[in-house]
Amino acid sequence: MKRIQKLLQEKKDIFSVYYTAGYPNLDDTMPILNALQKAGCDLVEIGMPFSDPLADGPTIQHSSEQALENGMSINLLFEQIKELRPSITMPIVLMGYINPVFKYGVEAFISKCQEVGVDGVILPDLPFDEYHEKYQTLFEEAGIANTFLITPQTPNERIQLIDANSNGFIYMVSSSAVTGAKSGLSDEQLDYFNRVNSLDLNTPRIIGFGISNQSTFETACQYASGAIVGSAFVKLLKEKGADESAINDFVKDIKRNN
């Protein structure tokens, strides 16, 4: 938790990347993480692949399917992270669906996160009430930041409730969409960012979904602490594999003005 909070306090225009563990090859998870850090990435979300990723578009669906075929699992991901953690200074956030975590055991999962140096988790289908009643204490005692999503349809009161119960950042989903579905940010989306900003929240926001290039990243940074590139990066991995120089060029290009 400290790493995330420190980053959010000290830095503006946080550049964050999402990618799926075990894709394109099972052992690519850590080389990609290394390459991202070298290229100047500030924060990573590593996706735990799931058979039924219902909030994801075709690009991330494909990467999950491939990663599972490659043999990726939560256990293996923990092993991979544990090995490399000492050389990584970026906060690491795990993102995935609740069923595999539930099957792993939420308590066991959180204690393993703590053990290997995971800083936060994003579980989009773990409902707020369920988290609040059953797991919040567990997460907080372990120092694992749980990250909630908000969308253009989330009412203000609910955003405030989420704000009061968040301890890392709020994941501000840019539009009504699954991952990778849209490109460009419309006036309507900017209005929504402004509406959220006018709520005077305590928790910093990072914008994700539809952030794919320098221009969307730069715009998003004007309305939040930073932004997350997901499908566009996974597409790069699909085309170029875990190639250090391709990853470096990708990150540098998007960050060039920030």
Partner: protein
């Protein structure tokens, strides 16, 4: 807690330890909205009048409760068949779709999306949309589109757009994922018309209420036909579990009535080629609901198998999981071979060709023992027209 509530959903959307709404935040406003209005709409006089009129004049209800004389003689008991196969479009699915379409209209939604496996729910949804003049998009796995060509054609003739789900195993669970993704992307104008008692709360309860007409009718029909006002057994097949939920609904509190659900075990419960969710019994979360499901040790949802496309869902409605937990319902399973045998038997003893799904329920007659004067109600959830290719293939006609 009143007795009535013991097997019904509680204020948190749970049936015991099952159910709930495990959905990404993007779906929260829609689910919350539906949760707030569905009971008021269903209980309103306007809805009830319209719904009941459609069930009567359009669907053709009440469906008969037929005393199956030769089947009764063979099994030395009193067998009554609840004839959902005689409904318009050929299955119980239409009870739910005409109900939900009215709810969608009351909510001011003008675009309807649905998932379908065998295509029965897709056809019933497309039918209700044609009736109401609403836009209809049906998601169907690419594999199922190939397997169920006649139903695809029916949906298209009814004016629906059929979209192939190309992800994962390209069957029902993937079609459901695609429908949920569509809803995430179209939260304002779109109503998701789910086809069974699955998905996030309030869907399992809403669909059960709309299928409850089945047991409402059985209740008065059995009184007309026997000297008792209740049956000893009610038996139905379960995929997601909507025809079973509807058949059980008004008997849940009446412990004199044994409730029996028949799952599809495909090639056998332990064969790896099965859809017997309760028999395998692993707790998890699928399509927004906490229930029993089929999954790997790593929590990846596995692909079910059954000869009947309507039963090969890797989960089961949360109410059924609760009925199993509390032992209020007994859950048995039937293989492909059992179902084929039962289908042939019903056809040749009573002149009724059942859907393969319903044939699973019928196979309970040979699996269980009944007393001579027990009244045994079996829901024939659909007719076999859609399965003729399989019957021709398996029986060599």
């Amino acid at each position: 807690m009143s007795k009535k509530n013991k097997y019904q959903v509680d204020e948190k959307g749970m049936y015991g330890r099952f159910g709930g709404a495990f959905i990404p935040e993007m779906l929260y406003p829609n689910i919350e909205n539906l949760k707030t209005v569905y009971l008021d709409i269903i209980n309103s006089e306007a809805f009830q009048n319209e719904y009941k009129a459609l069930l009567k004049d359009y669907v053709g209800r009440p469906s008969p409760l037929y005393y199956a004389k030769r089947l009764s003689e063979k099994y030395n008991t009193q067998v009554y068949l609840k004839r959902e196969d005689l409904n318009h479009t050929g299955a119980h699915k239409i009870n739910n779709t005409v109900g939900q379409i009215l709810i969608a209209k009351h909510m001011g939604k003008d675009r309807i999306i649905a998932e379908t496996g065998a295509g029965q729910h897709g056809v019933a949804t497309a039918t209700a949309c044609a009736l109401m003049g609403l836009q209809c998009v049906v998601y169907m796995g690419e594999v199922d589109i190939e397997r169920q060509a006649p139903n695809v054609a029916r949906m298209k003739m009814l004016g629906a757009e059929v979209v192939a789900a190309k992800s994962g195993s390209k069957t029902l669970k993937d079609a459901t994922n695609e429908a949920l993704r569509d809803w995430i992307c179209n939260p304002e104008d779109t109503f998701y018309l789910i086809g069974s008692v699955v998905g996030p709360h309030p869907y399992p309860d809403m669909v059960a209420r709309l299928q409850a007409i089945i047991s409402e009718e059985i209740k008065w029909q059995i009184k007309e036909k026997t000297d008792k006002d209740y049956p000893d057994y009610v038996i139905a097949c379960v995929g997601g579990g909507s025809n079973a939920a509807g058949s059980f609904y008004h008997f849940l509190d009446d412990e004199r009535v044994s409730l029996v659900a028949v799952e599809a075990s495909g090639m056998g419960v332990d064969s790896g080629e099965t859809a017997a969710t309760i028999a395998l019994g692993d707790l998890g979360i699928i399509h927004g609901s906490k229930t029993f499901l089929m999954q790997s040790d790593d929590g990846q949802i596995t692909e079910p198998y059954s000869i009947s496309a309507g039963l090969d869902y890797p989960g089961i409605g949360p109410q059924h999981a609760h009925l199993h937990d509390t032992k209020r319902g007994s859950f048995i399973s039937a293989t492909d071979a059992d179902a084929l045998e039962a289908a042939k038997e019903l056809t040749q003893l009573e002149g009724i060709i059942p859907a393969l799904e319903s044939a699973h329920a019928l196979s309970a007659l040979s699996k269980m023992s009944f007393k001579k004067d027990d009244s045994v109600v079996i829901t024939v959830s659909g007719r076999g027209d859609k399965d003729m290719a399989t019957y021709m293939n398996r029986f060599g006609f």
